[in-house]
């Protein structure tokens, strides 16, 4: 076993402390140590975006982030968007546009599109497509996802 370190950070608005092995990823910490399983393990190597979380206001792949690097930072997972107005609109829009099939990619897409629309509230389809280029979906063919995100400003 490697050394462990005590870290403390804000997780979905709540002060959280935990002891983690220094080589653990933030994804493993969320799912296995903290029980937040909304963040998905797809590829484990930065290719699919299913593990997307927000750290200090920017999205990152939690499978590439060292858990210890969350110390002192503001971390939001898909669970943290439950009561968030834009998060709610995005979820409603995904459902309305049929952008969810198996749903495995959905938390990552919602996190990333939340970030895209926060940075650029009136993003056009091209900006949306560029914004989610790090998210893979094996089911929908992306068209409905891009439509859902583009419409999220107006939904609800």
């Amino acid at each position: 076993m490697s050394a462990t370190v005590d870290i403390a950070f804000t997780l979905n608005g709540v002060e959280t402390s935990i002891r983690v092995p220094v080589t653990m990823s933030a994804l493993e910490m969320m799912r296995d140590a903290l029980g937040l399983t909304g963040t998905k393990y797809g590829c484990g190597e930065g290719e699919c975006g299913a593990c997307t979380i927000l750290v200090d206001g920017a999205t990152v792949n939690s499978c590439l982030l060292f858990a210890v690097d969350c110390d002192g930072r503001d971390v939001v997972t898909i669970e943290g968007l439950a009561a968030n107005p834009l998060g709610e609109r995005l979820r409603a829009s995904f459902v309305e546009h049929g952008a969810v099939q198996c749903g495995f990619c959905t938390p990552g897409f919602v996190m990333q599109s939340h970030h895209v629309l926060t940075k650029s509230p009136h993003a056009d389809a091209e900006e949306v497509r560029r914004g989610v280029e790090g998210n893979l979906c094996r089911c929908t063919g992306y068209k409905k996802i891009v439509e859902a995100i583009s419409a999220a400003e107006r939904v609800g």
Partner: protein
């Protein structure tokens, strides 16, 4: 896997350089290379893991007397969002824009891209075009020592640099390019996003009427490290960019590149790509 016994989070360059003196230390910044490499066994952790992300001095793009200094922790997103980079160093801006995905760009640092020294590292090609210098800091006996070396000296082989284990990469410096200098970057991959370059080309020059002066050409993923292409540069320097010049430059590329075959492309295909992409870029310059 090596047992990591210690974890360090230095707040200053001096503290980090002190920690590196003790030997078997693995540095991480964004983790986008180190995390997957350690999981696959390609990289082994030292006995000490050092998180350099809390070193404020390493962040940001600063103006210097001769140009710009880009701190090692500057992310690819920071580069892409910087008006100075977009206007003054368009080839570097383009490389940042075509880099991986938003999530990776938000985490990946320029220092990590340099230290990882992949033959396909995308910022390395434009940095070669801008004659960038890498700044390395160590603390051999109490006092800080700085070594500033050109990119060509820093990059030694695939994944190999001339950085000593006790040195921290703190910044990369670029002089403001000469007046009228324009630059471009082209990356070829098999899909638009999240692709490691099959080949990439950076091109910079001052346009002097019909002629090109101060020509600098760099090529990625076509040799053990990203390289400058002196034969191509010579074929273009002071020339009018017409069909004959382009043909000469394209065939000169064979003297500069030494591509390999791997899962992304064969050696033959990389030669073809360099020829065709260089031809396309130069025709574009000739018309523009």
């Amino acid at each position: 896997m090596t047992r990591v016994e210690r974890y360090l989070v230095p707040r200053t360059i001096a503290e980090a350089a002190g920690g590196l003196r003790d030997g078997n230390v693995t540095i991480f910044a964004g983790g986008t290379d180190l995390m997957p490499q350690s999981k696959s066994g390609k990289a082994k952790f030292g006995t000490c893991l050092m998180n350099i992300r809390r070193i404020g001095e390493l962040r940001g793009i600063k103006r210097t007397a001769s140009g710009f200094s880009i701190g090692a922790l500057t992310t690819i997103t920071d580069l892409r969002d910087s008006p100075e980079i977009k206007v003054g160093f368009p080839a570097l801006w383009r490389a940042s824009d075509h880099f991986a995905s938003d999530q990776i760009r938000n985490a990946a640092t320029i220092g990590g891209n340099l230290a990882n020294a992949s033959p396909a590292g995308d910022t390395l090609v434009p940095l070669l075009v801008f004659d960038a210098r890498v700044v390395l800091v160590s603390r051999p006996n109490g006092a800080l020592q700085t070594r500033t070396i050109p990119m060509t000296e820093f990059l030694v082989g695939p994944g190999k640099t001339s950085r000593r284990p006790d040195e921290l990469l703190t910044a990369v410096e670029m002089d403001a390019p000469p007046p009228g200098f324009t630059s471009r970057f082209f990356k070829f991959g098999t899909r638009p996003a999240l692709d490691i370059s099959t080949i990439s080309i950076g091109l910079g020059a001052v346009r002097d009427g019909e002629k090109l002066r101060n020509v600098r050409v760099a090529i990625g993923a076509a040799a053990p490290t990203p390289i400058r292409a002196p034969h191509v540069e010579e074929a273009l320097e002071g020339k009018v960019v017409d069909g004959a010049t382009i043909a000469a430059a394209v065939s000169a590329a064979d003297c500069d590149i030494r591509p390999i075959s791997d899962l992304r492309a064969s050696e033959w295909y990389r030669h073809e790509l360099v020829h065709n992409m260089l031809e396309r870029m130069l025709s574009d310059v000739g018309h523009g």
